[in-house]
């Protein structure tokens, strides 16, 4: 599904090199999570895969095609939400559908074979809003919502478009534990039901374990060879307190610590 080939990237002209000759393959239907120290380039990677930033060299293929602009059936949930401040939650959720209708099924801005069905679209919006517990806030503006509510609105906005590739940047970071777990469950079921491919950035190691069959660990230094941890505990909600689960978490935790220390030493 995703093939990152010899990716090189640095922010701006004199910026730190974040990816240097970095290659990675994610197969259709796989659920990946990404962890790494703050500032290591997780968001940047997501932006690159989403087609919102362009590699300095190398290329990224999604579904066999090189990414030059956002791909219509890729869904992206941003870290800072990006809701339109002048639109209500309902209108924000409907935005993607509106854009698709605006262009029609052109394959460039909206998936080629898509058909428009007003009722089905409304039904989906209703479904996701109520499922995420923010349907009663439909007529509110983003500035009137709590942060968690805003985050859920951003998730709803992406999910109504039924993407086949879902890129999420710390999507549940502002949600309380119970709802976060529910959402994690849904994400897992998606993979089983619809063969969704996903790439989720998170700071919560447990979440990384629950959501990712493969866990990509990025380092604050320049990333060249991807470090991928295999994980068979995907979806093992009930095992959260098992030794196995905790072992995995501890392993990742220690790995993460090394990703940081390197840098700190270098910086001295």
């Amino acid at each position: 599904m995703i093939a990152v080939e010899n990716l090189c990237f640095a922010h701006g002209d004199g910026g730190r090199i974040i990816f240097d000759n970095f290659s990675l393959t994610i197969r259709q239907g796989e659920a990946w999570t990404v962890i790494g120290p703050s500032g290591c380039g997780k968001t940047t990677l997501l932006f690159l895969v989403a087609g919102l930033k362009m590699p300095d060299s190398g290329r990224i293929l999604v579904g066999g095609e090189e990414i030059r602009r956002p791909r219509p059936s890729t869904g992206l949930v941003l870290q800072d939400h990006g809701l339109l401040p002048w639109a209500t939650i309902y209108d924000n959720t409907k935005l993607g559908q509106k854009i698709r209708q605006f262009y029609g099924p052109d394959g460039k801005h909206s998936p080629a074979g898509i058909s428009f069905d007003h009722e089905r679209d409304e039904e989906r919006i209703h479904h996701w809003l109520s499922w995420l517990g923010i349907e009663h806030l439909k007529e509110m503006y983003p500035s009137q919502l709590s942060r968690g509510q805003r985050q859920r609105a951003a998730i709803a906005r992406t999910l109504v478009l039924e993407p086949d590739l879902l890129l999420m940047d710390e999507p549940f970071s502002a949600l309380d534990a119970p709802i976060r777990e529910e959402l994690q469950k849904v994400m897992n079921s998606f993979h089983k039901q619809s063969g969704l491919t996903s790439l989720t950035v998170t700071h919560d190691i447990e979440e990384a374990v629950v959501l990712g069959e493969k866990i990509l660990v990025l380092s604050e230094n320049c990333n060249s060879a991807p470090q991928v941890v295999d994980n068979h505990l995907l979806g093992a909600m009930e095992k959260r307190n098992s030794t196995e689960f905790r072992e995995k978490c501890r392993e990742l935790h220690d790995l993460l610590a090394t990703k940081r220390d390197n840098v700190a030493e270098e910086r001295e």
């Binding site: 919102l52 002048w86 500035s143 478009l161």
Partner: protein, 250 residues
């Protein structure tokens, strides 16, 4: 309740203005600055007669000019705000053309479009075109990047971005631009309506009163301009309350 408060403040403002005016007229104490006590009754009386017609003629021209200018300037401003490359070419161009007193080109405009009322409207429209353009462009270029990225990720290309982000995002800017340019448009009447018409506040003020030193009548005409300005202000304000509801949430 809110609206009543707003109405009340407006009245307070207007009252203040009249008091200031009265004071100033007492200080200056010359026929060139008559007291509002003389002018206001005259204004009220005349508005039901001749002056009313001049007022209507001017309103029509200003509205038409503002409409035309907005239709051309707002999209162009949005475009330039979006595309810094083009802006770097057009920006200095605007800076050159903008300060040139357009009134000089009136003869050229007459040649190109005849001496109909439309030439006048065009002139006013050209003058305020640049003001709207500059404000809208600056507003559009200041848009937060995350917002644009997030909407791009929903599939939006240039056109959809325009429709769903730039347009609504710069509505407040467009309205600010309108507020500035409506004032200018009314002020330009003063010059544009001197020629080739016998109706309009500009004509009334300059030809019928100012140059023959009928100061009280002139100030009645000026009050007409003020009234036109304030009516347009409230028109814009009510549009703003409609389209930018989110700005009025406390």
């Amino acid at each position: 309740m809110k609206n009543k408060g707003s109405l009340f403040s407006t009245l307070a403002g207007v009252l203040m203005l009249f008091v200031l005016w009265q004071l100033l007229s007492l200080v200056v104490n010359l026929p060139i600055l008559p007291s509002p006590l003389e002018v206001v009754p005259l204004f009220l009386h005349d508005m039901c007669g001749e002056l009313g017609l001049h007022f209507l003629a001017s309103s029509g021209r200003v509205l038409a000019a503002v409409l035309i200018a907005t239709i051309f300037a707002a999209p162009l401003g949005l475009l330039l705000g979006q595309m810094p490359k083009i802006d770097r070419v057009v920006g200095p161009l605007i800076a050159i053309i903008y300060p040139i007193p357009k009134i000089i080109f009136l003869p050229v405009i007459y040649v190109l479009m005849g001496i109909s009322d439309f030439s006048k409207i065009t002139l006013i429209a050209i003058i305020i075109f640049f003001q709207i353009l500059v404000v809208v462009r600056d507003e559009a270029s200041g848009l937060r990047k995350e917002l644009i990225l997030s909407v791009k990720s929903l599939g939006a290309g240039r056109r959809a971005l325009f429709r769903y982000v730039y347009l609504p995002a710069s509505l407040p800017g467009v309205l600010t631009a309108l507020r500035v340019s409506v004032g200018t448009a009314v002020a330009v009447l003063f010059i544009a309506e001197q020629s080739l018409t016998s109706y309009g506040l500009g004509y009334y003020i300059v030809i019928e009163t100012y140059q023959v030193l009928l100061y009280k009548e002139m100030y009645a005409g000026i009050m007409g301009m003020g009234l036109l300005g304030v009516l347009l202000y409230f028109a814009i304000y009510s549009i703003e309350r409609k389209v930018s509801k989110h700005l009025f949430i406390q």
